[in-house]
């Protein structure tokens, strides 16, 4: 995303609302619990001093692939709607 549309999403609070919606959906579908278990197992394996960056680099790709398509689709659609609404309001 270019930075101007992103800035407008932040400004009107839409970004926060979308982020919250995403968070809710990920909790609802069990994604959060899945990722939590992956992290827990990794910490058990590597000891509790494992660095955040190590954890992140191991978990990210797996976590990403676990996000259900329906959630991605819904969010994409919503972001698109918001951007189109932005464009409309800029024209008028």
């Amino acid at each position: 995303m270019k930075s101007a549309p992103h800035q407008r999403l932040v400004m009107v609070g839409d970004r926060d609302a979308l982020k919250e919606l995403l968070r809710l959906r990920l909790v609802e579908c069990g994604w959060r619990d899945q990722v939590k278990i992956i992290c827990k197992d990794l910490i058990k394996e590597n000891g509790q001093d494992i660095a955040y960056d190590t954890l992140l680099s191991t978990v990210t790709s797996r976590a990403r692939s676990l996000v259900p398509d329906s959630v991605k689709k819904e969010l994409l659609q919503k972001i698109k709607n918001h951007l189109m609404a932005q464009e409309e309001s800029l024209k008028s």
Partner: protein, 501 residues
């Protein structure tokens, strides 16, 4: 990742306090006001490469934003010797001397309260937060290290109930209540604290939950529960078979009254009870009476615990709306929420034009309960004869109540259909989907009948409860059964919704 802060952060806090973190957090992490959001939008860019993403961090010592992915915040830390930074996405603190993020209780508390403030400023109610044990709860968990993992074929929570002589009406309602997810969570979390436990039905139900989940498989005898109901709902006392629906409502009523011994009242409305029964089972039914002369609308909203649905053909139906008897739950609900002509014999004084006029009346759902209970009126009592209507009524496993909501169903509401929500008021947050979790059936005739219950013990795991006998059932068996009382549970619980209304 350290869970108790670090010496570097502590030194920083001792010198400068928590104010720098507070300011950065309230403007650039959570944005607690409109002004903050504007500032965040305009200035949250990496000072080196101008990106707004790539794990942007803010220096805690001076005004500098830098991204982590391309190493610009690291660069800043090294050259300026500013070793503490705040992650702008989550608000966590990165200590470059420790080489990792660090937790700090004081700053976490600041972050928490600012998230709430931000949610309020966007009128989003409250942001979701995962459950965290309190000190007391954490101690309890440590003292009781045995855990039970629920697997797919686990039979946890299942227990038969002895028939005490025509008490199947009570047994099936108890099974439905015990398997109401939110009620189970409430009681297993030990939330009922009682001033007079010996006479309290809520305490007895609390005790029953312990029995059901104890692991003991022997059938239970509900003599104490029955006695408490007899004492507190006199019209049900006696040895004959009772109506399961009547028993259900009476039980909710007694539970609700006993909860009031330790009342939780809603601030703005002292008459509105917020006990666990009301939180789970109470909805709001909107009734709109429209005067046919002046089109004036008078609206009232009444609380309800269940919806009783007619199964016969529409009474006195005439005109284009007339139709045969309903064949599904959706049919019934559609009819229930349809505008109905009150006729010339039932003129009502219109509050608008002050004259007696014919009018239409429409019922719609203003506020949905967490558990939606439907009562199919299979027993017809009239002066000529009492009879049972055994027609098949289809009901779904998943039910969306949106079409029966006041704002959808009636034209008298002035809410505009707006495809683009304003300032975070997202329609996507209103989710009205329900799933079936219990069905009570009446088998046999009006004179000699027997009640049984289908209950969902966990996702996709159904069981038939026939007094002391519990047998595994298929979803198909449930959905093709006759159905007398249907219990649906809301799929998604809005977080902090109660504090908003």
């Amino acid at each position: 990742m350290s869970d108790h802060g670090c010496i570097h952060l502590n030194n920083f806090k001792a010198a400068k306090g928590i104010q720098p973190y507070k300011v950065i957090h309230s403007y650039f992490v959570t944005s607690t006001s409109t002004e903050a959001r504007v500032r965040k939008a305009v200035s949250c860019l990496c000072h080196t490469c101008k990106t707004y993403k790539d794990r942007l961090h803010s220096c805690l010592h001076c005004i500098f934003f830098g991204c982590y992915s391309k190493g610009h915040i690291q660069e800043h830390a090294k050259t300026k010797k500013h070793f503490l930074a705040v992650d702008l996405c989550y608000g966590n603190i990165l200590c470059f001397q420790c080489g990792d993020y660090v937790y700090d209780r004081e700053l976490t508390a600041v972050a928490k309260s600012q998230w709430s403030q931000s949610a309020r400023s966007l009128s989003l109610g409250e942001f979701y937060r995962a459950w965290e044990p309190t000190q007391v709860e954490a101690d309890l968990l440590r003292k009781n290290p045995r855990r039970r993992r629920i697997v797919e074929n686990s039979t946890i929570g299942l227990r038969g109930l002895i028939n005490l002589g025509s008490t199947c009406f009570m047994n099936c309602i108890v099974q439905a209540l015990i398997h109401t997810p939110l009620l189970r969570d409430y009681f297993l979390a030990d939330r009922h604290h009682c001033p007079q436990p010996s006479r309290c039905l809520v305490c007895e139900v609390s005790h029953l939950f312990q029995e059901f989940y104890s692991g003991n498989k022997a059938p239970l005898t509900l003599h104490k529960l029955l006695h408490l109901i007899w004492t507190h709902a006199r019209h049900l006392a006696g040895y004959e078979q009772q109506d399961a629906h009547e028993f259900f409502i009476a039980t909710l009523d007694v539970l609700h009254r006993h909860c009031e011994a330790a009342p939780i009242l809603v601030k703005d409305n002292p008459h509105h009870c917020n006990c666990i029964i009301d939180q789970i089972f109470t909805g709001g039914l909107q009734s709109d009476v429209v005067c046919q002369a002046c089109n004036g609308v008078s609206t009232t909203i009444d609380p309800f615990w269940d919806i009783s649905l007619d199964l016969g053909p529409t009474a006195g139906a005439s005109g284009p709306d007339s139709s045969g008897p309903p064949t599904s739950l959706l049919d019934c609900l559609e009819r229930f929420t349809r505008a109905e002509h009150l006729g010339s014999s039932a003129k009502i004084k219109c509050s608008n034009c002050q004259t007696y006029q014919e009018s239409t009346k429409q019922l719609t759902m203003k506020q949905l309960p967490i558990v939606a209970s439907f009562h199919l009126k299979r027993f017809e009592h009239s002066s000529i004869q009492d009879k049972k209507i055994s027609t098949f009524i289809a009901f779904p496993e998943q039910l969306d109540m949106t079409p029966f909501m006041s704002h959808k169903r009636n034209g008298n509401n002035n809410t505009t259909i707006d495809s683009f929500p304003k300032n975070g008021e997202d329609t996507a947050f209103g989710d009205n989907r329900y799933s079936l979790f219990a069905v009570i059936n009446h088998e046999g005739s009006l004179e000699t009948g027997h009640y049984t219950a289908f209950i969902r013990q966990q996702r996709d795991q159904w069981f038939k409860c026939d007094d002391h006998l519990i047998t595994r059932a298929k979803l198909k068996d449930v959905l093709t059964s006759e159905g007398y009382l249907l219990f649906y549970h809301k799929q998604i619980l809005e977080y902090g919704k109660n504090s908003k209304v």
